[in-house]
């Protein structure tokens, strides 16, 4: 396997760029494709790095959660054994996916639930919209769910005249600001308390006019705002953290109680779940209920976990629909080297430890799945060429904290290698042609001692254009490299020259 650790060639943008605008409430808008929006990663990252407020918000938040996680993980004497089991259970699930999905369907159906299958986002959205329409309501309450973010469900429902109300506090903030989530667990992590107060004041009709930016007061304003909606909603939509094949049990893990409200009070519950969310047996929950909360929020256990199996007469929703979603997951499964990305339980520990994520934030990734896991999962789900595998320093911190031991750095390297072999000289792109030519030139020079010696003299010329030991801009084609980084002034001497001099002095 060849390894390429640099930055990718420049690519054309992906539509309007998420503008970094710290002094406005407006979010980045809702993109057409939640897995592929905004500028290319290098451009979006550059813009994000110029946003001091964003960097402060992120730096504070990620360091807080890293500390919390480390503390509660250290408490668990058998943490590594739990990781080993978590990883093995998920690998086993992928190997037996067809039989386990059918087992889940049988058990959900036997308990009064209805199972639907959706090949892609559009099909899932159609199924959900038609189920909601049957209930003759134009408003549904939603539990935070990555799967429904991924398929753009809210926008699809809006086109049908159905308002989907996000009830998780952070998702509500994102929705009110017409924004996109920037973190898997804390979608509004890019906002600070003052921005959130301003969003509430401007966009939440019943926000108290004298609202301050104290987090407790902001949370209470959201409580008051959502209370009536919970009590009157006819239909709720959720995702699922786990589905148990051998019992048909679904599990949702949450903190605020908005999940319990949605899963308990409405008459109808629709759950949209990726096909990889399975665990084989009920007992397997004992592993994941230890791994997930400690990795995710840094708590020993999240405040609320709800588990339900089909319909329970007289308790909770009396109509339950489960939508099983592919939407690219079988493409990931087909990739033997990258398949383990499907093991992800969406804890977001890898985001919080990533030096790249901490500096550029979630929006730069242009996907609802940001950070290290997003950098491998997003291109695999879409099957498109992507610069996301380069959004990493390969420091390995993501692997260290992953509760199901996904070897993200190795998959990143594999995806980079594929990207390079796919694009090298094959497109008409200038940067690609230059890259290909440079690689050919390098292999020509390095294949012969004399040629390498002559080539090694070139950097000395660069000293002529450096200022204070730094080269800000190289002439083309080197400008493609210095566009996003400064180059250190080359040393006065090459190693070869130094060695030769040392030998002479002996």
């Amino acid at each position: 396997m060849s390894t390429f650790l640099g930055m990718p060639s420049a690519r054309t943008g992906r539509g309007p760029s998420p503008s970094a605008a710290p002094d406005t409430l407006a979010g980045v808008g809702r993109p057409e494709d939640p897995l592929h929006w905004g500028a290319s990663f290098p451009d979006a990252a550059k813009a994000a790095l110029d946003n001091d407020q964003l960097r402060r918000n992120l730096g504070k938040a990620t360091s807080t959660i890293r500390t919390k996680r480390a503390r509660v993980v250290d408490e668990v004497p058998d943490w590594e054994a739990l990781r080993d089991t978590g990883s093995a259970v998920k690998t086993d699930v992928m190997a037996r996916l067809p039989e386990l999905l059918e087992e889940l369907e049988r058990n959900v159906t036997a308990r009064g639930g209805v199972v639907h299958w959706a090949r892609d986002a559009a099909e899932a959205n159609r199924i959900v919209a038609s189920l909601v329409r049957e209930k003759e309501t134009d408003e549904v309450v939603k539990v935070k769910s990555m799967a429904t973010q991924e398929i753009g469900l809210n926008e699809a429902l809006a086109e049908e005249g159905i308002a989907a109300v996000e009830t998780d506090l952070a998702e509500l903030i994102v929705q009110l600001a017409d924004d996109m989530p920037s973190h898997i667990l804390v979608p509004a992590i890019h906002r600070n308390r003052t921005e959130i107060r301003d969003i509430f004041l401007e966009r939440m009709a019943d926000a108290p006019p004298d609202l301050t930016d104290v987090p407790r007061e902001l949370a209470m304003a959201a409580r008051a705002h959502l209370r009536r909606k919970f009590l009157s909603a006819k239909v709720a939509i959720s995702g699922a953290n786990f589905a148990v094949a051998d019992t048909g049990t679904l599990a949702v893990v949450e903190s605020e109680g908005n999940g319990r409200m949605c899963l308990t009070l409405p008459e109808t519950l629709i759950t949209v779940m990726g096909i990889e969310k399975l665990v084989p047996t009920f007992d397997d929950l004992e592993v994941f209920l230890q791994l997930l909360p400690r990795s995710s929020t840094g708590e020993r256990m999240n405040p609320y976990t709800s588990m339900w199996t089909g319909v329970t007469p007289g308790d909770g929703p009396q109509e339950f629909h489960l939508v099983l979603l592919d939407n690219g997951r079988t493409k990931v499964l087909a990739d033997e080297a990258g398949r383990s990305a499907l093991n992800c339980i969406r804890c977001s520990a890898c985001l919080n430890v990533c030096p790249v994520y901490e500096r550029v934030g979630g929006h730069a990734y242009g996907s609802v799945y940001p950070g290290p896991i997003g950098a491998i999962l997003t291109p695999q789900l879409t099957g498109e060429q992507s610069d996301l595998p380069y959004a990493s320093t390969l420091c390995g911190a993501c692997y260290e904290v992953c509760p199901v031991k996904i070897d993200i750095p190795s998959i990143l390297v594999e995806l980079r290698a594929r990207e390079v072999s796919l694009t090298a000289g094959s497109s008409g792109d200038t940067a690609d042609r230059v890259w290909s030519a440079a690689m050919k030139a390098a292999s020509f020079a390095m294949a012969d001692g004399a040629r390498f010696r002559r080539a090694a003299r070139v950097p000395r010329l660069l000293r002529a254009i450096s200022r204070n030991g730094v080269i800000k801009r190289l002439p083309f084609p080197g400008s493609l490299w210095t566009r996003s980084r400064d180059l250190m002034e080359p040393p006065k001497q090459t190693f070869r020259d130094w060695w030769a001099g040392r030998e002479e002095q002996r």
Binding site: A88, P215, T249, L265
Partner: protein, 243 residues
């Protein structure tokens, strides 16, 4: 079989190729983690751990003997309205959109599941006790106008500070322990296990019951990751440990 189902299953089989393992590899999954703790259920060490963890997450813990339960419940339900007054004045900024509740000093209300031990309620003089069951459920609006709820529990996990309700008649429908603002949960000490696996295996004997795992009052950390206790679920959680 729908077209979508057939196509997804065939995509999966194609993706797995010859690797599909219909025989199962469950035997290959290592399980070296602790399946139980070193302390027996209900032991002093386990109880101390549970209390520490519950209090760390801002639940209120009360230890009591069976005979003292009625008096303790009466006190906790009464305390409640004083707290409500305080919360109402300092934290609620828009009282007009709040659920209607009895005036402070007025008659307090509590919902109980139909299977709750009746003797526990004998101290609740002057309190409006509303009984709820699957056959005779209170509406969401009625629950919203109820101050507190008292339930039993199925199991508690010491290491994580968790109590689990499974919807049996002494714990009731999921909605009753959710909508009122104060949850008083009565746990017998012999129901307290040390680890998550012990609890899951106990619950696994009836996995189809609706389960609610509760670890402290509802909370959010969505604003700058600063923890705020009490969002949509009960803002006050009392755990009464009975031995």
């Amino acid at each position: 079989m729908t077209d979508a189902k057939a196509e997804i299953l065939s995509r999966i089989r194609a993706a797995l190729g010859s690797e599909e393992d219909s025989a199962g590899t469950a035997g290959a999954v290592p399980r070296e983690y602790r399946s139980a703790g070193e302390h027996a259920p209900g032991s002093a060490a386990v109880l101390a751990l549970l209390i520490d963890r519950l209090e760390d997450y801002k639940a209120h813990v009360h230890r009591t003997a069976p005979a003292e339960i009625p008096a303790l419940l009466a006190r906790l339900i009464a305390e409640r309205s004083a707290e409500r007054q305080e919360v109402g004045s300092s934290n609620y900024r828009s009282p007009d959109v709040l659920p209607t509740t009895p005036e402070a000093g007025g008659r307090r209300s509590v919902v109980v599941p139909s299977g709750l031990e009746p003797g526990w309620l004998s101290g609740l003089a002057g309190v409006d006790v509303r009984t709820d069951s699957r056959d005779a459920p209170l509406s969401a609006a009625e629950l919203d106008e109820t101050d507190a709820v008292v339930t039993a529990a199925r199991v508690a996990v010491a290491e994580t500070g968790t109590i689990v309700l499974d919807g049996e008649p002494d714990q009731g429908r999921r909605a009753i322990s959710l909508v009122p603002d104060v949850h008083v949960c009565v746990v017998r000490t012999d129901q307290v296990v040390q680890t998550v696996p012990e609890a899951v295996r106990l619950l696994g004997t009836d996995p189809g019951r609706p389960l609610t795992w509760i670890s402290g009052p509802s909370a959010t950390s969505d604003i700058e990751l600063e923890r705020v206790e009490g969002v949509h679920g009960p803002r006050t959680l009392h755990v009464v440990l009975v031995s």
